[in-house]
């Protein structure tokens, strides 16, 4: 699937998440993200970013909920904070899915030549988390091979140095390779440009429809997007909006490309 289609997918899934604090919608989004991740993840270290972001999401939710206990504690306030935290966690999971299924540098290539530098900066920023995750995995593996099998807080110090060092090295290598390829001097050729396929178009269009439906629902105040917390009520859902979230699963159900076939 074309990286731009993933960009559209992630943006739309993020918009959908942003419009609601209803736990049923949020849980459906998480389930869909998990499904998409499971069927479309790029094998390798970056695929781990889903798990990392899911854990970060749970922590965020816990912290957001714990903050309530510094103020008024009643069922409504706790539920309200937990739901806000759940929304943040879902956003992080969507972002983690995006990181696991696409190559951030593929997204850079899409930017018009004028905006190449800002796009590159954005891609570097976006890819820091998954690259760090990948690097931690590599360093740990290297340590294990050498018989260093520490765990817990002790290992943190011995992990931090090589990870930082590798990060610097990667950045330098990237800069050198960009310079060597004549980056920023105008002429650029594209090696195997990504093809905009039916699958990519379907992904982008269905995700846009999903976001559109949710924005309309938010605009008209329907579908119980923000279930009442004063008084605390069992959230209701609209089957139509659940169906709209289902549209986000489209990229996950597109058949896996055979080896060698154009994506």
């Amino acid at each position: 699937v074309h990286p731009a289609a993933w960009l559209v997918w992630a943006t739309c899934a993020g918009l959908v998440t942003f419009t609601t604090t209803n736990p049923l919608y949020l849980a459906t989004i998480v389930a869909v993200a998990w499904f998409v991740y499971a069927s479309k993840r790029i094998p390798g270290e970056t695929a781990r970013s889903f798990r990392v972001f899911a854990i970060a999401g749970l922590l965020t939710m816990a912290v957001r909920t714990a903050l309530v206990f510094f103020g008024t504690v009643d069922a409504g306030s706790v539920a309200f904070a937990a739901l806000e935290g759940a929304r943040l966690a879902t956003l992080l999971i969507v972002f983690g899915t995006f990181n696991a299924v696409t190559d951030p540098f593929g997204v850079v290539r899409l930017a018009p030549r004028r905006f190449h530098e800002p796009a590159l900066a954005a891609a570097l920023a976006l890819s820091i988390a998954p690259r760090t995750v990948a690097m931690v995995g590599q360093v740990r593996e290297a340590q294990r091979v050498r018989g260093l099998n520490r765990s817990g807080w002790r290992s943190l110090a011995s992990l931090a140095m090589p990870v930082l060092e590798n990060g610097m090295e990667h950045a330098l290598t990237l800069a050198e390779s960009m310079d060597a390829r004549g980056h920023g001097r105008g002429a650029r050729t594209r090696y195997r440009p990504a093809r905009w396929t039916v699958g990519a178009a379907t992904t982008a269009i269905s995700a846009t429809i999903a976001a559109g439906v949710f924005l309309i629902a938010a605009w008209t105040g329907s579908g119980d997007l923000h279930p009442s917390t004063f008084p605390l009520e069992v959230p209701q859902v609209s089957p139509l909006l659940i169906g709209a979230i289902g549209l986000l699963a489209v990229p996950g159900s597109i058949s896996r490309p055979r080896a060698g076939a154009a994506t």
């Binding site: 306030s77 309200f80 269009i205 105040g221 119980d224 009442s228 008084p231 009520e233």
Partner: protein, 308 residues
């Protein structure tokens, strides 16, 4: 290159055909929720300026609204005067009490404190902003003007229960003295409670006792100004008559006529007052389970491919 383009075009065309059916579907859903005709959702809004207490039984235009929108609805339905600040996220002025600009804390340490009610007379200091709070049917919000940065120090609202504000069955309260501008000053302190209606909730002493921790400040405030008659409920000055009507009459003020005709239509479709049909939650749970299981299946399959 040609083939994909053509297929793309067919796909886009198909989606264009589908899109219009989605539009009405969503808007139909809107009306169904907003309408839920006969049992329209209501929330209680209590405004305590320090010299008078006003309460409104506000009809909601959705299943839940933000605390700010509740004030706007009260303004539209009952003429509650308000001024918002900080980009519409904070309350600067209610009933001409408060700050005249857009810096809502311009009169600090005096400011509008925000409370949520439990529906039976208890109030808790709101932990989050009114713009993000979500108030549903039977919810209670209160705003009190005064000093104090927490629920323990800020003057607490009177111990009104939801039924005191939104009750159709009880007899309408006697109109409060002096209307909106008068502060109930003509009533002797403490005396008002006795003359107040049964729906009003008893004598001021009882009110302050039931607010628990805030009792002392509440008492001080109540005795400082001759507003012991707060239960004499100036709510009646504006809302006494029309309020009752509103509870029963779905054709009340703000919605347009067309909305009401659609509401009548939608009422046939959605007979459940709580929004979506009850099986929808089931549907959502099944969807969650299906996607979760699908994910496991895909993962197992791709692991199999990798291994083999």
């Amino acid at each position: 290159m040609l083939m994909p383009t053509r297929r793309l075009r067919t796909l886009a065309f198909g989606l264009i055909l589908v899109a219009p059916t989605l539009g009405p579907a969503t808007s139909g859903l809107t009306r169904a929720c907003a309408a839920s005709a006969s049992g329209a959702p209501h929330a209680a809004l209590v405004v305590d300026t320090g010299s008078q207490t006003l309460s409104y039984c506000v009809e909601l235009d959705g299943e839940s609204v933000s605390g700010i929108h509740l004030i706007q609805l009260a303004g539209a339905q009952f003429g509650l005067q308000y001024r918002l600040g900080f980009g519409g996220a904070a309350v600067c002025q209610l009933e001409d009490v408060g700050v005249d600009g857009s810096d809502c804390f311009g009169a600090y340490p005096d400011f509008w404190g925000y409370w949520h009610g439990n529906g039976s007379g208890g109030w808790s200091w709101a932990g989050s902003g009114a713009a993000s709070a979500s108030i549903g049917d039977g919810g209670m919000d209160a705003w009190t003007w005064g000093q104090g940065d927490s629920g323990a120090t800020h003057p607490a609202p009177p111990a009104l229960a939801f039924d005191d504000v939104c009750d159709i069955s009880s007899p309408p309260p006697t109109p409060g003295p002096g209307g909106g501008s008068g502060s109930g000053g003509s009533n002797p302190p403490g005396g008002g409670g006795n003359t107040g209606p049964g729906g009003g909730g008893g004598a001021p002493g009882a009110i302050n006792a039931s607010t628990g921790t805030t009792g002392s400040t509440g008492n001080a405030a109540a005795e400082g100004t001759p507003q012991g008659s707060q239960t004499g409920s100036p709510r009646s000055d504006r809302s006494g008559g029309p309020d009752r009507d509103r509870d029963v009459d779905p054709l009340s003020p703000s919605p347009t006529a067309s909305d009401d005709s659609v509401a009548a239509l939608a009422a046939g479709v959605a007979d459940d007052p709580d929004g979506g049909p009850p099986w929808a939650v089931m549907f959502a749970l099944i969807a969650i389970a299906a996607f979760g299981a699908g994910g496991w299946f895909m993962r197992r399959r791709s692991d199999g491919i990798k291994g083999g």
